[in-house]
C-alpha cells in the first residue's frame, strides 16, 4: 500500500513538473498571444492540480490532506478565471488571433491524400 501510494504520488508530481516545463516552453515558442495564454493557463491550472494531488497522496495526516484539497478547489476556481480575464482583456482591446485565412493548401492536401490512397 505504501509503495503504491508513493509510486502514484511520484507519477503525479512528475506529470505536474512536465506540464510546468511544457507550459514554459510554450510561452516562449508559441506564435500568438492567445496560444501563449493557453500555455500559461495549462501551467496555472493543470500542472498545479497535478502537483497538489501528488502531494495529497504523500501526506501523513488527515488535516494536511483537507488543507491541500481546499487549495486544489480554490485553484480550480481561480486559475481559469484568470486566464479568462487575460483573454477578455485582449479581445476588448481588439487584439485579433493569428488565423491562416489561405485555405487553398488544405484542399491540395486532401486531393493528394486521395490520390495516394487510390494508387
Amino acid at each position: 500500500m505504501e509503495t503504491v501510494l508513493s509510486l502514484l504520488s511520484g507519477f503525479f508530481l512528475l506529470l505536474g513538473s512536465f506540464l510546468c516545463l511544457s507550459g514554459g516552453v510554450g510561452i516562449l515558442r508559441f506564435p500568438d498571444f492567445y496560444t501563449r495564454m493557453h500555455a500559461a493557463g495549462v501551467t496555472d491550472t493543470l500542472a498545479a492540480a497535478m502537483i497538489l494531488i501528488g502531494l495529497m497522496l504523500q501526506s501523513p495526516e488527515m488535516l494536511v490532506i483537507i488543507k491541500l484539497m481546499m487549495i486544489l478547489l480554490m485553484t480550480l476556481f481561480i486559475s481559469p478565471a484568470a486566464s479568462h480575464a487575460l483573454g477578455q482583456a485582449a479581445v476588448l482591446n481588439n487584439l485579433l488571433p493569428l488565423v491562416d485565412l489561405n485555405m487553398n493548401h488544405l484542399a491540395k492536401n486532401t486531393t493528394a491524400g486521395d490520390e495516394s490512397s487510390k494508387s
Binding site: 476556481f77 481561480i78 478565471a81 479568462h84
Partner: protein, 311 residues
C-alpha cells in the same frame, strides 16, 4: 514600463521562494503577499496614470557603472571575514537567539517563535512599524485625496448594469471567491501563533479581497461597502489598540508592553497581549492598504474627468 512592472512582480515572487528555501516561512508569506501582490498592483496603477513609454537617456552612464563596480568590488573584499553560509557557530547564533529559541515556549507558550519575538520580546519595534504604516497612509491621503460627492444610487446601478454583460464570468467567480479570501485572512490572523502568519499578512490578504471587489464592481460601489470615514477611523483605531495594551500593562504594575501582568497567569497574559496587538496590527494594515488603493483610483478618475472637461 509595463514589462518592467511585471518583471518586478515576478522578482518578488521568486525572492519569496528564496526565503522558503532558507527556512524563513513567515518572511516568505509576507514577501509573497506584499511584494508580488500589493506592490505590483500599486505600480500598475501608477503606470496607468503616467504612461507606458519612457524616452531613452541621451548620455551613456559610464560614471554610474564605474561607481557601481568599485563599490561592488569593495563589498566583495569585505565579505572575506564573514562566517560561512549555514555554519552553526556564527556569532549571530550565540547571544540572544538561544534564549528566544529554547525559552520562548516556557515563557510565552506560543509555538511560532517569530510571532513570540515579534509581538512580545521585541514588541516595541513592532509598535514603531505600525506607526510607520499609519504614517504612510496619512501621507498618501494628504497627497492624493480628492473631494468626492458620493454618487447617487441610480448612477451606481447604471454603471453596474453597463459592466455586467462584459464581465459576467469574472463577476460570478469572484463573488463566490471573496468570502473565502476574507475568511482566509481571518484564519491567517488568528493562527499566527501556531504557524506562519500574523497581523501583517492577514491585513494584506483582507485588503486584497476588498480591492478585487473594487476592481470588478467599480470604485463607487466599493465605497458604498467600505465607507471612507470608517476606514480612516479604523486605521487609527489599530494603532490605538496597540498603544492601549502597553498603557494598560503599565497601569497594572508592569513596564510598557509587558503582557505578563495583563491577567492572573503570566502565560495567559502573554497570549491575551499577543492576540490584541496582532489584531490591532491587522486592522491598521488592512485599512491603510484599502485607503492607498482607493486614493489612487479616485485620483485616476479625477484626472480622467479633468481631461474630459478640458477637451
Amino acid at each position: 514600463m509595463f514589462a518592467v512592472v511585471m518583471l518586478a512582480g515576478i522578482y518578488g515572487l521568486v525572492s519569496a521562494s528564496f526565503f522558503v528555501a532558507m527556512d524563513a516561512v513567515d518572511v516568505a508569506f509576507t514577501e509573497a503577499s506584499v511584494g508580488a501582490g500589493i506592490s505590483t498592483l500599486l505600480m500598475l496603477t501608477t503606470v496607468a496614470m503616467t504612461g507606458r513609454t519612457e524616452h531613452m537617456a541621451s548620455h551613456k552612464p559610464l560614471l554610474a557603472l564605474f561607481v557601481v563596480t568599485v563599490t561592488g568590488g569593495l563589498l566583495i573584499y569585505g565579505t572575506f571575514d564573514m562566517p560561512y553560509f549555514g555554519s552553526a557557530d556564527a556569532p549571530i547564533h550565540n547571544h540572544v537567539a538561544p534564549r528566544y529559541i529554547y525559552d520562548s515556549m516556557k515563557e510565552i507558550g506560543v509555538p511560532n517563535m517569530v510571532t513570540s519575538v515579534l509581538a512580545s520580546y521585541r514588541g516595541f519595534d513592532t509598535f514603531g512599524e505600525v506607526t510607520v504604516i499609519f504614517t504612510a497612509g496619512i501621507g498618501v491621503l494628504a497627497l492624493l485625496s480628492v473631494v468626492q460627492r458620493p454618487k447617487s444610487e441610480a448612477v451606481i446601478e447604471a454603471i453596474n448594469d453597463s459592466m455586467h454583460e462584459k464581465h459576467l464570468i469574472l463577476r460570478v467567480v469572484i463573488k463566490t471567491m471573496i468570502p473565502f479570501i476574507l475568511l482566509y485572512a481571518f484564519y491567517v490572523q488568528f493562527h499566527g501563533d501556531y504557524g506562519p502568519g500574523g497581523g501583517f499578512q492577514a491585513g494584506v490578504i483582507f485588503a486584497a479581497g476588498i480591492i478585487m471587489y473594487a476592481l470588478l464592481f467599480g470604485l463607487s460601489a466599493a465605497r458604498q461597502v467600505i465607507k471612507q470615514p470608517v476606514v480612516q477611523l479604523l486605521s487609527a483605531v489599530g494603532v490605538l489598540i496597540y498603544g492601549s495594551v502597553g498603557l494598560v500593562s503599565m497601569l497594572n504594575g508592569g513596564t510598557f508592553l509587558d503582557y505578563s501582568v495583563l491577567s492572573a497567569d503570566p502565560i495567559a497574559g502573554q497570549h491575551l497581549g499577543i492576540l490584541l496587538i496582532e489584531f490591532g496590527v491587522g486592522l491598521t494594515v488592512a485599512s491603510v492598504m484599502i485607503i492607498i488603493f482607493f486614493s489612487c483610483s479616485a485620483r485616476s478618475e479625477y484626472q480622467q474627468a479633468k481631461k474630459g472637461e478640458s477637451l
